[in-house]
């Protein structure tokens, strides 16, 4: 199922938003850059996360070093991988982990924004100007695909768990939503442009 979901999401990715060979080469060619900024990035990431009471509550006491090591693993595996199907399945799997840990998508999106800001700021300081455009495009494309896979697999598997436990099939869930969505729009009509 993870493979099917990943394929469905990747099939919706417009052709010009796929990583090109040149962009993959740019990411891999800057492994040293990533390793150089990894420590600062990871510290900044968890400092930011732990500064919010809700985000902090997701973690157990003493868990931060374990999560920091996982983040570093992600960086290393990302740069040593081939951005092939197995890599994308792994990203979609993170969506299921987020359900287990109750990490909501909005928090994940906030933090991906923080990561992008950090990486691109450092890139402007450290990467040759003639490479910067390709590198920035590659990084943005990569993280947006990862974001889509995590968020969509979270949403899909969340619903799948409801379907598995209650027997309510996806088509029925869709019809339930259709029945209610007009009421929701009406209730919130003041926000309509």
């Amino acid at each position: 199922m993870l493979k099917t979901i990943t394929k469905n999401i990747m099939d919706h990715l417009p052709e010009n938003l796929h990583l090109t060979e040149e962009e993959i080469a740019s990411l891999k060619g800057n492994t040293d850059f990533f390793l150089a900024i990894a420590e600062g990035l990871i510290k900044s990431f968890y400092d930011t996360l732990y500064s919010n009471e809700f985000a902090r509550s997701i973690f157990k006491e003493g868990e931060r070093p374990v999560r920091e090591a996982s983040f570093k693993d992600w960086v290393v595996k990302t740069l040593s991988g081939n951005f092939d199907n197995d890599y994308w399945y792994w990203q979609a799997y993170v969506g299921i982990l987020h359900i287990k840990r109750q990490v909501p998508n909005h928090l994940m999106i906030f933090m991906m924004g923080m990561v992008n800001d950090y990486v691109l700021r450092e890139a402007r300081k450290r990467i040759k100007p003639e490479e910067l455009d390709t590198f920035s495009s590659a990084w943005i494309k990569l993280t947006m695909i990862v974001l889509a896979l995590i968020a969509e697999s979270y949403h899909y598997f969340y619903l799948q768990a409801i379907t598995n436990v209650t027997g309510i099939k996806t088509q029925l869930l869709d019809n339930m939503v259709k029945t209610d969505v007009d009421k929701l729009l009406k209730e919130n009509a003041k926000y309509r442009l």
Partner: protein
């Protein structure tokens, strides 16, 4: 669908009910008689029967056959017809349960033949 509608109409009158609906397992209404908000009733019927069916499967290792709800304003009876299609009969306050069940069974057979 004329026959289905006719059967539902006769069922509602004979069982002294308010309304009757035939609903797919996706919650779409196939036919209804007397129902006011049949889109909502359709999805509620299908979701109730999905959960009840899952309960029967997991807890009794069996298939759901029918489901009766008793409310302060009468009964709501559900009967599996065929191929995931179910019949929902909403009675009036004071409708006798035995009468409603008798006609529910009788017309379920006719609906099964029509579908």
């Amino acid at each position: 669908m004329k026959n289905l509608l006719e059967i539902l109409e006769v069922l509602v009158h004979k069982a002294q009910a308010e309304s009757a609906l035939l609903v797919s397992e996706d919650g779409l209404v196939i036919e209804s008689f007397g129902a006011e908000n049949d889109n909502l009733t359709g999805v509620l019927t299908a979701s109730l029967l999905s959960v009840a069916g899952r309960f029967a499967e997991e807890i009794r290792q069996s298939e759901l056959d029918h489901l009766y709800l008793q409310t302060g304003k009468g009964f709501v009876l559900f009967r599996m017809i065929k191929d995931g299609i179910s019949l929902c009969l909403i009675t009036q306050p004071g409708t006798k349960l035995g009468l409603a069940i008798m006609y529910l069974e009788k017309y379920s057979k006719q609906l099964r033949e029509e579908l």
